[in-house]
Amino acid sequence: MESIPFGLAALVTLFSALRVVRSPNLVHAALWLGLALLGTAALFAVLGASFLAGVQVLLYIGGVMTLTLVGIMITRRHDGLNVPAESIGHVRAGVVSVALFAVLAWAISATPGLDAAPLGPDATTQDIGHALVGTHVLAFEVVSMLLLAAMLGAIVIARRKDPAPHAVTHLHVPATAVREAAE
């Protein structure tokens, strides 16, 4: 019974992920990305990880997706926002994708102890919270330090060396021109 909603969510996710890379229209691609992320959230929800599903919607669609859209809007060029969706090397791309998938699948299946996850499938939100700031508090803090470093880096990159406020040069209008205009 559970496999039907799972299959539906997976189908939607895969289809929209395909549209993300195949759509020639940048805006459409971004919106398809939103649907793909929503589908991932639905997968989490079907599997009973409602906290993850909520966080997925909140962070990925509310955050990443929104930033992407704002980025597109701000950097809007004139009409014809089309980007070529056709790649030159289908075969090479296909080989690399399959290889990547194989490596990931092998790594996941070869990692021991995945079944003995620290939190079982019945973990409530409270359990997750306790685990995050209890047993795994070090990892939690390290991740937040990483985010802080990324934020500082972004600020450093974005900060221009602003000139002194008075350095704005006025237009030099020749005094004679002013006099002529006044007359």
Binding site: M1, V27, H28, L31, G34, S50, F51, A53, G54, V55, V57, L58, I61, G62, M65, T66, L69, V70, M73, I74, R76, T124, T125
Partner: protein, 324 residues
């Protein structure tokens, strides 16, 4: 399967109730605005103009459906539908009485924030799809505004979450029914958090004094510039749904939801929701529109730091003494 049937049944009921309330809310707003401006408001259609909203709806639906030639047809058509879906979706986890709730998620607060955050997508789709500079400018303002006000909104909503120790909205309401309403006690994180929630909610639903995205004197009508007929009606409806559902959320998070003496829970919830709804109208018809920079200054230099401070106070309240 039982849960599915329950969700579909109650979801339909709640959605119908909300949409009917909105029809009457439009009548009430026009009357209320009229009285505040020393006018009578609608009087012709039906007794005391009560049938006015229906006349309005019939009028709107009769209008020609115009799609601009160079519009992005798919986005243009999708946007109004998504707007209604996102604003109605929030209502799914709000308990209108101990038993009347469409889906009692244990991460209800996350659902509310997540689905509320999705409102950016229809706004963008409408602004971009219309292929109109006013619509695009309106969408940019709306998105900047809702992203900024999302921060104080989350901070304010986290106060009841921390105080009650629950992420489920029905859990938060049940906690308040057992102990006390958060807007009343502890008054220091509670009441200011409600004020921040209220302001952020007004800003997220683009109501006056925060209706900069629709500033008709500058932007024609913002994202709805190119919309006519049924699609315009959907946007109009989505705004009202957003306001009403936001009121219900405020009532549930800060005023104890269905908790109250003498009457059934549903009555109390409806009373509290409508009180907040009227409060929004009152603000709307009393105040002028903010400027965009004033809006952003209010958000980032006042509401956000105060929100962080309130969150810390509520954490301290729970840790030291408090009522838990």
């Amino acid at each position: 399967m039982n849960e599915l049937v329950h969700g579909a049944l109650y979801g339909t009921l709640i959605a119908t109730a909300i949409l009917s309330t909105i029809a009457m809310g439009i009548w009430f707003e026009r009357k209320f605005a009229g009285r505040m401006q020393q006018r009578l408001g609608p009087t012709i259609v039906g007794p005391a103009g009560l049938l006015q909203p229906f006349a309005d709806i019939i009028k709107l639906l009769q209008k020609e459906d115009i799609v601009p030639r160079d519009a992005d047809r798919g986005l243009f058509d999708l946007a109004p539908i998504l707007a209604v879906v996102c604003s109605l979706g929030v209502a799914a986890v709000i308990p209108f009485s101990p038993s009347i709730i469409a889906s009692d998620l244990d991460v209800g607060v996350l659902w509310v924030l997540g689905i509320g955050g999705l409102m950016v997508i229809p706004t963008f789709a409408a602004g971009w799809g219309s292929n109109n500079k006013f619509a695009l400018l309106g969408a940019m303002r709306a998105i900047a505004q809702s992203v900024s006000y999302g921060v104080p909104l989350v901070l304010a909503v986290l106060v009841p979450v921390v105080l009650s120790g629950s992420l489920s909205i029905s859990g938060i309401v049940a906690w308040q029914a057992q102990h006390h309403w958060f807007a009343v006690w502890p008054i220091v994180p509670g009441l200011p958090a409600f004020v921040i929630f209220f302001l952020a909610m007004l800003a997220e639903s683009n109501r006056i004094p925060f209706d900069i995205p629709e500033a008709e004197s500058e932007l024609v009508a913002g994202i709805t510039t190119e919309y006519t007929g049924a699609k315009f009606t959907l946007f109009y409806m989505a705004e009202y749904v957003h306001t009403l559902v936001g009121s219900a959320l405020g009532a549930a998070l800060f005023f104890g939801g269905w908790d109250g003496p003498f009457a059934p829970g549903l009555h109390w919830m409806v009373l509290k929701t409508l009180t907040l709804f009227v409060l929004i109208y009152w603000v709307r018809w009393s105040l002028l529109r903010f400027r965009a920079d004033q809006l952003m200054r209010l958000c980032w230099t006042w509401l956000t730091p105060i929100g962080v401070a309130l969150l810390l106070v509520s954490a301290a309240w729970v840790t030291f003494g408090g009522t838990n």
